[in-house]
């Protein structure tokens, strides 16, 4: 029983961070209908920013979220304004090529600057945990989860309650209609890409204390984020949250009850199965 609870809890904690990565991707897709294959590399940039401020300035990874978030927001906004914006009406394969190319440029530039060595952030709490009824809970992971929860809640509030948030959602629902209603869809796109990459950067900062950093780390997370988003329904923020948690728990449980080496397999079988019965994802609406 303990083993079961333990794996569910670590699954949820890891899943929370997955969700954050997925939400960023889904917002970008929702507003621009562009699949951002450079998402994992934005996360990687977030990790390197965290590592830099930690090793040079001694700023705690969790505090540095306040630096990496805005930094990645500006970078994302810049990318969308100068590059992504130009391919919004292009063929999907051209958009994919552009984002993949951007990802490659980012990871290889980082490799040139910092070499391909693994970096490990060692904080005083990197391996500390506390026990709750025989179940050990990782402190850094719990803090990361709580920060994720706060950010997600703030994001919901922003999207649902503020004018700008509603304008973003309107743009996501129907770009042309939104434009006709007087919404500046250009600005909304810049904003959405900025928010998306800020979320990726924050996620990168949050996993830094418990994971390790290298220039190619992005690809693992791009794939994961993509699965999460499709699973939850393309463009749905709640779907991505749910998708992240489901993937986290599934991985964790299948590592215990099936085999550690096969956990990815289980995730993808589940993914295929779901798409078979619900092609638009858990909370996705089929677009007319």
């Amino acid at each position: 029983m303990n083993v079961f609870l333990q794996s569910v809890i670590s699954g949820i904690l890891v899943g929370g961070v997955y969700a954050l990565i997925g939400i960023g991707l889904t917002i970008i897709f929702g507003v621009m209908r562009v699949i951002n294959f450079a998402h994992g590399d934005l996360l990687m940039l977030g990790m390197y920013a965290t590592w830099l401020v930690f090793s040079r300035l001694g700023i705690d990874p969790f505090v540095s979220v306040a630096i990496t978030g805005p930094l990645l927001f500006l970078w994302g906004a810049f990318l969308q304004k100068t590059l992504i914006n130009r391919v919004l009406n292009a063929l999907p394969q051209n958009q994919i090529l552009l984002t993949i190319g951007l990802g490659l440029i980012m990871s290889n530039s980082i490799m040139l600057m910092f070499t391909s060595d693994y970096r490990i952030l060692t904080t005083t709490y990197s391996s500390s945990s506390f026990s709750l009824g025989g179940i050990s809970i990782s402190e850094p992971l719990l803090v990361a989860f709580l920060i994720t929860a706060v950010i997600t809640a703030a994001l919901y509030w922003f999207l649902l309650r503020t004018d700008t948030g509603q304008a973003i959602r309107a743009t996501a629902q129907d770009r042309d209609a939104a434009q006709l209603m007087g919404i500046n869809v250009q600005a909304m796109s810049v904003l959405a890409f900025g928010i998306g990459s800020a979320l990726a950067g924050v996620a990168g900062a949050l996993i830094s204390p418990t994971y390790y950093i290298f220039p190619q780390v992005g690809s693992t997370f791009t794939l994961k984020a993509f699965v999460i988003v499709v699973l939850g329904g393309m463009g749905s923020v709640i779907g991505a949250t749910l998708g992240g948690l489901i993937i986290g728990v599934t991985e964790s449980l299948s590592a215990v009850y099936i085999a550690s080496g096969l956990k990815e397999l289980v995730v993808f079988v589940l993914f295929l199965g779901l798409l078979l019965f619900k092609p638009s994802g858990l909370l996705g609406k089929t677009r007319a």
Binding site: S131, S138, Y211
Partner: protein
Amino acid sequence: MKKMLAPALAALSLALPGAGHAQVKIGFINSITGPEAPIGENLTNGVDMAVEDLKKKGVNVQLIKQDDTGKPQVSMSAMEQLATGDEVAAVVGPYTSATANAVAKLANQYKVPQVVPAAAKEEITKQGYDFVFRLNAPAHQYAQSLIDAASELGKPKTIAFIYESTDFGTSVAAAGKDFAQKKGLKIVADEAYQKGAPDYRSTLTKIKAQSPDLVFMVSYVADAILLMRQSREVGLKPQAFLGGGAGFDTAQFESEKDISNLVFSVTQWTPESSPAAQEFADRYLKKYGKKPTYHAACAYASMTIVGEVAQQAGGDRKKIQEALKAGKWNGIMGSVDFRDYEGFTNQNELVMPVVQYQGGKSVTVFPKQLAKKKAVYPFPGWK
């Protein structure tokens, strides 16, 4: 055409100033670029130092370096170039298991003596290749030394394996499982994991539930640290953690005092093994500004032996092969003797020292003749 070219080239080399009569051509294949480059650098440094030292002893080596970028197909064309184009007397390298194994086949075909300095894959010297020699210990030794050390230190009854699902991980773990069974240990967990996953907590919890006496891990650099961090988190507490080289045998792991403390690891070489080794380590540190890894030491020893033998044999490939087979050397790797045993051909039987991290420093604790300090066993628990 080729027949005419060879004497012409010979005449040319005689005419060149400085081309002494004692010069021998030796090829060196290594991962100079590509993903293995950070480790490959150690081998290059070791070989460079060996060539300098040989020169002082009057052995003039003309070293021809080839980069295999870590890919078997590139290493094979490098070998063909060295064997037929440059016509080297012998070859040292390549570094990785995959490339060394690919080159071994060609070395035997072209009858060029090859000395593998640091590749662990079992098969390399198990194919009956007369011209292929290996200085370092093969994969099964990792597991054997560690389990031997643990059984000597305590009375473990059960063992759990956790290893990455790569060529290296599975082959070391497979050899470990074999040997554990021979030693009468019960295998209570056998977990292969996908390299690079951020969360091993559930797997480690599962292992903890079996409360094994020994936990044997095989992984590369970063995962080793992650695994130990998470073991601490979930409170896994066996009698001993055994780290199968690689990620557990790095300066980075050593420096993570909180989690590396009292973990056992195994290595091909430590500076502590002999005064000559210590002297080599000091000179290396002075020259390159960092501590030598076992790769550097293995490469240095391989090149020294090949250089000496090749000169004595006058660059004749067959004579070099015979001399390597017959000879015995003493140096920074201890005694080196290429023998045929247990299905291996031309394999140096190297005893791998087992080290334990004590307060952020690795100390040799096993076997007895190399031990510098007493091992702490069993593991007293996490701080």
